[in-house]
Structures are given as structure tokens and as C-alpha cells.
């Protein structure tokens, strides 16, 4: 039995400990926000926060996470009450097909918590582990910058 905290709720998991965190979140906990883009650590679509740090949930067997604090993209807001980053992505065209978006939001949230510099280079570094095949990144960077600077 593995006990962990997911989006502030205590959860336990009794399945196979080698199951990837990504699959446990999606299949066992029905949190389907995190996406699988590549399953190779390259794209960041599966990003979640573990103890506040951004990680690729496709590269972590859940058995490594006893006692860990997991936060998924679902913790950033609800459809009724979107978080600031989510709103900014809507307003600045940060999402097209949406596959990369949960990972982008999670990486941006991690960056926000580390001071959230809106310098271009800092934003590029913060999102360097996330690939997008649609937007060309410009609108994503603008969305994050807008959310962090509080501009609309």
C-alpha cells in the first residue's frame, strides 16, 4: 500500500508499485489532466509537481512516492474558477490542440513559485522541458508572462 497526497487529499494506492505515476493518476485516481505525449521524458505533457518540484510523471514508478505530495494541473483551477495561469492561456492564445497545455501550466506554476521572473530567458528556461507542436511557443511565453505580471 502506498500513501500519498494528491491535490491536498490523502490517497492510497494498492496496485502494482511499478505502475507509472501518470497511469495511477489517470486510471486509478481519474485525474486525466496530465497527458502522455511521448513516454520518454522529452515532452513534459505529463508534468506534475512532487513536493513542489516539476517532474515527468511518465518516468516515475508510483512505488517511489510513499508520503509524497503530488499536485496535478487539476489543482490550478476548475472550469468555473480558472486559475490565473489558465485564464492567461485562454486570453493570449497559449493553447491550441491542448495536449501540451497541462504540462506547460504545471511547469509555469513551478516557475511562479520560484520567484516567477518574467524575463524571456527565465521563461524559456522554465519551459525548456515542455514541447508544443502547435503554437510555436510565442503565445505560450506571452501567456505565462501575462499571468506572472498580473497584466490582462
Amino acid at each position: 500500500m502506498i500513501r500519498l497526497s494528491v491535490n491536498g487529499k490523502r490517497r492510497s494506492y494498492a496496485g502494482h508499485p511499478f505502475k507509472r505515476l501518470l497511469d495511477v493518476l489517470r486510471e486509478d485516481f481519474r485525474l486525466t489532466g496530465s497527458k502522455e505525449g511521448c513516454g520518454e521524458g522529452e515532452c513534459g505533457a505529463c508534468s506534475v509537481l512532487i513536493d513542489g518540484e516539476p517532474v515527468n510523471s511518465c518516468l516515475i514508478p508510483v512505488g517511489q512516492l510513499e508520503g509524497a505530495k503530488i499536485e496535478t494541473v487539476e489543482s490550478l483551477g476548475t472550469p468555473e474558477k480558472l486559475g490565473r495561469l489558465q485564464k492567461a492561456f485562454l486570453e493570449h492564445g497559449g493553447a491550441q490542440c491542448g495536449i501540451c497545455t497541462p504540462g506547460m501550466l504545471v511547469a509555469a506554476e513551478a516557475h511562479r513559485r520560484c520567484g516567477g521572473s518574467t524575463k524571456r530567458q527565465a521563461l524559456c528556461r522554465a519551459l525548456a522541458g515542455n514541447l508544443c507542436r502547435c503554437t510555436g511557443y510565442k503565445h505560450i511565453i506571452e501567456s505565462v508572462a501575462a499571468a506572472l505580471s498580473g497584466k490582462r
Partner: protein, 289 residues
């Protein structure tokens, strides 16, 4: 074929002693630290049916201790943890520059220094800095521990001198005297997430007369393992870095490396890129991180 969780046996070590005991009993088990290498292989279905020994919960191996003479970095210290320690960034800036370029933030948050070394890729980004800092790698088994000079760790592509019952426990970084010049460069196709075509790390100390006291220069991705440019380092010792000395050193570079053609680059490109970086460093045009 994908990774099949049900086919796996996961052993979880609670302490260092526990890890070494489990390792001794299961020499075929694959150690698992941050998983950023191992899980990629598992996801591809290459490790089904194997036993994995998770050492990530061993707190003693996660610690980073910085002292007057050097730093003791636990094998499980992540790239992100090293970057968060101002004393490490100040004392060993070439290493932390490399850590900051290992994948993106998600890889750095999870990937460990011990895992980077044990993985023994020819393109391991931390290796050129570890080579010029003359790091020592402490490996342990249930029978005891021993220390390896960093230059003794790799024996070939993806091969280390670790015995089957051994685990990397920590990496010791001696504190270098303040260098006159230092350099870290990663030449890749893009800044993050890319496997390097060439990496270089250099440290240079000058004597009172401005001649070379000591030069250490290491190249990655230029041979099956990281290489120090021993011949060039020796040739410049005690000499002023004038045109003639620099030409000689750059000429000697090729005798200490053996770059290959592969999907990422050609032999000639790698050699030229490395020579340009080396020359730039010796001429004082190229430095910093």
C-alpha cells in the same frame, strides 16, 4: 512492446545498509535513483521481467555537505538540488552550469549526479566538469567502500568499473584554488533537452610570471568516455600562452580524443568545434559558464 508493471519486481531500500544488503543479495537488480534514464528504457519495454532496486529513499545519500577543503555530494543529490546550493554554485560553477543544462527543469528535479555517472553515457554533461575538478567517486558494497578517481570510473561506452554488488554512495569534490580562467561549454542542437555534440570544461591557473601553472581541460562526446587533454596540458605547463604554445596545444588535442560520426554529428565537425573552443579558452576569448 511497452513497459509491463506486473512483470517487474521492485525492491525498496530504506537505508544505506539496507540498499547494500539488497544489492549483495540481488546482483542482477537494476538500481533506480531518479529514473530519468532507467524509466525511459522501461517505457520502451526493454526491461520487462527485471528486478529493480529503488535507492531513492536512502536519505544519507541525498545529502550535500560543503566544507573548507571540498564538498561531499551524495549520489542521490539531484541536479536541481545542486543548483539550489549557493556554496556549490560558488565553489564548483562548472559543475552546476552542467547540471543546469541536463534536460529541462523536470529532468533536473529528478535526475541525480550518481545516476548520471552510473549511466556512463559518452555525452554525460557533468563529466567534463567532474574531470577537471578531479572528483573522487565513493562506491560501496556490503563488504565496505572504496574511492575511485573520476578518471578510473569509466571503462567504455556505458561501462563503469563498478562491481556488480557496488553502488555509488557519494562524489567528493576537492576545492580548487581560484583559477585565473574557467570555462564550461555545451554544444548541442538546442539549449535544453538535447544530447550534446561536444562539451568542454577548462580550468587554468597562471604563476606569478604569467606562465601556465596548471591547465586542466576535458572534452565530452569526443571519445567513448570523457577525456582530459593530458598531452596538451603537459605541453603548456610552465610556458607563456603565446601563439606558438597555443598552436602546439591545439594540435595536440586530436591525440587525446577519438570523435566519431554518428546521427548527431560528424567526426570532423566535433573535432573542429572542440579545437575552436580550446583555442578560444587558451587565448582568453572564451571563458565563463
Amino acid at each position: 512492446m511497452r513497459g509491463d508493471a506486473a512483470s517487474m519486481t521492485l525492491l525498496r531500500a530504506k537505508s544505506a545498509a539496507d540498499a547494500l544488503r539488497l544489492r549483495a543479495r540481488n546482483p542482477a537488480a537494476l538500481p533506480l535513483a531518479g529514473g530519468t534514464d532507467l524509466m525511459v528504457h522501461w517505457n520502451a519495454g526493454l526491461l520487462n521481467g527485471r528486478t529493480v532496486l529503488d535507492i531513492s529513499a536512502v536519505k544519507d545519500w541525498r545529502r550535500i555537505k560543503v566544507g573548507k577543503d571540498g564538498a561531499e555530494v551524495g549520489a542521490l543529490a539531484t541536479h536541481a538540488a545542486l543548483l539550489r546550493q549557493p556554496a556549490v554554485v560558488a565553489g564548483w560553477p562548472l559543475l552546476t552550469a552542467a547540471c543546469g543544462l541536463v534536460g529541462g527543469p523536470q529532468i533536473q528535479a529528478r535526475g541525480t549526479l550518481g545516476g548520471n555517472i552510473a549511466n556512463a553515457s559518452p555525452a554525460g554533461d557533468t563529466f567534463p566538469p567532474l574531470a577537471v575538478y578531479e572528483a573522487r567517486v565513493r562506491v560501496a558494497s556490503s563488504a565496505g567502500s572504496r574511492e575511485l578517481a573520476f578518471s578510473e570510473v569509466f571503462t567504455g561506452v556505458k561501462k563503469t568499473s563498478l562491481k556488480p554488488d557496488e553502488l555509488i554512495e557519494s562524489i567528493y569534490l576537492p576545492r580548487p584554488a581560484k583559477p585565473a580562467r574557467q570555462l564550461f561549454r555545451k554544444v548541442g542542437t538546442r539549449a535544453a533537452q538535447a544530447i550534446s555534440k561536444t562539451m568542454a570544461a577548462g580550468l587554468l591557473w597562471l604563476d606569478k610570471k604569467g606562465a601556465v601553472g596548471e591547465l586542466r581541460f576535458a572534452l565530452g562526446s569526443m571519445a567513448p568516455t570523457v577525456r582530459r587533454l593530458r598531452k596538451a596540458e603537459q605541453a603548456v605547463r610552465g610556458r607563456k600562452l603565446d601563439r606558438e604554445t597555443i598552436d602546439l596545444a591545439v594540435k595536440l588535442l586530436a591525440s587525446d580524443v577519438s570523435p566519431i560520426d554518428d546521427i548527431r554529428s560528424t567526426r570532423l565537425y566535433r573535432l573542429r568545434a572542440a579545437e575552436n573552443i580550446f583555442r578560444g579558452f587558451l587565448e582568453g576569448r572564451l571563458e565563463g559558464v
